[in-house]
């Protein structure tokens, strides 16, 4: 019995505080980010941990108007939701077919899609640039939207194939017995049944593109088309000429982070499980 007691002793004593410290560090960074966004640049360095004496809402006003975070937010919202909807519209039927209509092609095509998960964006970006340039789709939000949807295919098809495969077959079979065509069965039975998986796939897609940088950086040029991460980078760049405006920068950072944080507080469990569960099963 002595041994049994001995184990939880030291490991609990040191373990839990360590885990909490690790977590508290992230919380502290988030809190400090919020505080900083409401302070003047002088106060940020003079008293990094104190509450702002008078909240500098002006930081947000500056970021939103002078650096046009408002426009960037609008661009990003349209782009990201458009991407999620189109991605689901294209990949849900494919995933359904791959998991439920058995032909000799299924496992091959599923593996073929999974292959894309291992191809880094840097590998495909050059030919894509040449291609989009030929089509006059460089520096165009439509062009970026097409690229986002296309590059979402591997993960979303892969994710939804697994999800459709886990759904019960009975309802579908009953619908078929009642004389519903396969097409109708998909739209009226399977899609509503798969709602939770589809919503999860959409959320993951939105989160992934909300802060996407590489494609935006390469394919967008003019300032009025900038997405949020490009607006942040632009702000950083301008600070080198116009002097440090850390308060404004952090107001911009909060503009990017707070919607994600709200979404995470609301749907956290779904996001965590969506991003990790496939690995365990």
């Amino acid at each position: 019995m002595a041994m049994t007691r001995k184990f939880p002793g030291p490991s609990k004593l040191l373990g839990s505080p360590f885990a909490w410290l690790f977590a508290l560090f992230s919380v502290a960074v988030a809190v400090w980010m919020l505080l900083t966004s409401l302070k003047s640049t002088r106060a940020i360095f003079a008293e990094p941990w104190s509450l702002p004496t008078t909240p500098q809402w002006d930081n947000y006003a500056r970021a939103w108007t002078a650096s046009d975070f408002a426009g960037a937010t609008l661009n990003t919202v349209i782009l990201v939701f458009g991407t999620a909807v189109a991605t689901i519209a294209l990949s849900a039927p494919a995933a359904y077919a791959l998991s439920r209509i058995l032909t000799r092609w299924n496992s091959g095509i599923t593996a073929f899609f999974a292959l894309g998960l291992g191809i880094p964006s840097q590998v495909i970006i050059l030919p894509l640039y040449v291609m989009m340039n030929e089509l006059y789709l460089v520096d165009s939000l439509t062009g970026l939207w097409i690229l986002y949807v296309a590059t979402s295919m591997p993960f979303t098809v892969f994710f939804l194939t697994g999800f459709f495969g886990s759904l019960p077959k009975e309802l579908e079979e009953a619908a078929a017995l009642d004389g519903a065509s396969a097409n109708r069965t998909f739209w009226q039975i399977m899609l509503p049944l798969a709602r939770s998986g589809i919503i999860t796939a959409m959320i993951l897609n939105i989160i992934q593109h909300w802060g996407e940088t590489l494609f935006g950086l390469v394919f967008l040029q003019s300032e009025e088309k900038a997405t949020l991460s490009l607006a942040l980078l632009g702000f950083l760049q301008r600070m080198q000429y116009n002097g440090a405006d850390w308060g404004g920068l952090f107001a911009g950072v909060c503009t990017v982070v707070l919607p994600v944080l709200a979404c995470y507080i609301w749907l956290g469990r779904r996001i965590i499980e969506g991003m990790t569960l496939g690995s365990v099963k």
């Binding site: 609990k12 839990s16 840097q122 050059l126 296309a150 802060g211 980078l233």
Partner: protein
């Protein structure tokens, strides 16, 4: 495939609509939908993913500025990469991220998994440490860099503890270490979450047996936990390799301190590929493409090696 086939025939005995009933009109109706359902996604994937990959393989064998004539160069681009000290440094950094950051992340994730296994508040801790994973790399990089500013929070804390002359964290000699620590901070939550889910599946009575036998913490981990989650560790290793090679934003945004791109000392191959094509005077598509192919080859080699390393009969429980 055989496993699926066996499962499919079972309901077929009850209902004719099951796919195994090849001849039924319903099954044929479904089969007709296969290609129309798959085609849009497949075409998009092939046109925007597979063909560009093949095109990059071809570009990597040419000298090309992105427009105008291509000049076939054979393996010249690869040879030039091998001789370019900046590429050597970038490649070394990619490997350092893969193994050093990966090693630290996995060690920390295992440790946290074991601590959180039976800790009060584990769900809250998990939710918090996972959060940085869904934040854009640019934002994380800005936050992380700002913590380490000369007058930043880290140095103020160090001064408070009596260190009069804290290091210049964002100087070229320290920047890569700062980046690596930041990557560990961001990634640990993700792998801890996956490992926790794997550990949760291990039956509790196995640990009770350990306690009865008087096994210590390390023995429990080595002989019970690790073998029973081995396959998941393998998946994590593959996921890490792929995502580690792709890391770009977190390093790129450190340029904020110094100009268009961060100092070459902290580049990895992803940054090198970007810089060659889009940020140098004359675009060097050939060597950028060759860098891309090196990254792809690295992913391929690692995935094959890891699958071999982790391939063994999973313990049934």
């Amino acid at each position: 495939m055989t496993a699926t086939a066996v499962r499919e025939t079972e309901p077929a005995q009850r209902q004719p609509a099951a796919p195994a009933a090849q001849s039924s009109p319903l099954a044929r109706g479904r089969k007709r939908l296969f290609w129309p359902f798959i085609a849009p996604a497949l075409v998009l994937y092939v046109v925007f993913y597979i063909l560009p990959t093949l095109a990059t393989a071809w570009i990597s064998l040419n000298k090309w500025a992105g427009a105008g004539p291509m000049e076939f160069a054979g393996l010249d681009n690869y040879r030039r990469l091998l001789l370019d000290p900046v590429f050597q440094g970038s490649f070394a950094n990619t490997l350092t991220i893969l193994f050093a950051v990966g090693g630290a992340t996995f060690a920390l994730s295992f440790l946290l998994t074991m601590i959180l296994r039976d800790m009060a508040g584990r769900k809250a801790v998990r939710a918090i440490i996972f959060f940085p994973n869904i934040i854009s790399g640019i934002v994380l990089s800005i936050l992380w860099g700002f913590l380490f500013q000369a007058e930043g929070v880290v140095n103020q804390a160090l001064r408070a503890f009596g260190m009069d002359d804290p290091p210049n964290w964002l100087g070229t000699e320290n920047l890569f270490s700062v980046i690596m620590i930041g990557l560990v901070w961001v990634q640990t939550g993700f792998f801890t979450t996956i490992l926790m889910a794997a550990v949760d599946r291990i039956p509790k009575d196995l640990y009770e047996v350990c306690d009865l036998e008087g096994a210590n913490a390390w023995q429990r981990f080595r002989h019970v936990t690790l073998p029973l989650m081995w396959d998941v560790v393998g998946v994590c290793a593959v996921l890490w390799s792929i995502s580690a090679i792709k890391i770009f934003e977190f390093i790129y945004a450190f340029a904020g301190a110094a100009g268009q791109l961060p100092p070459t000392k902290v580049w990895n191959t992803a940054l090198y590929a970007y810089a060659e094509a889009f940020a140098s005077g004359v675009p060097k598509y050939g060597s950028a493409a060759a860098t891309g192919m090196v990254m792809l080859a690295l992913v391929g080699v690692l995935v094959v090696l890891l699958r071999r390393l982790f391939r063994r009969d999973t313990v049934q429980f």
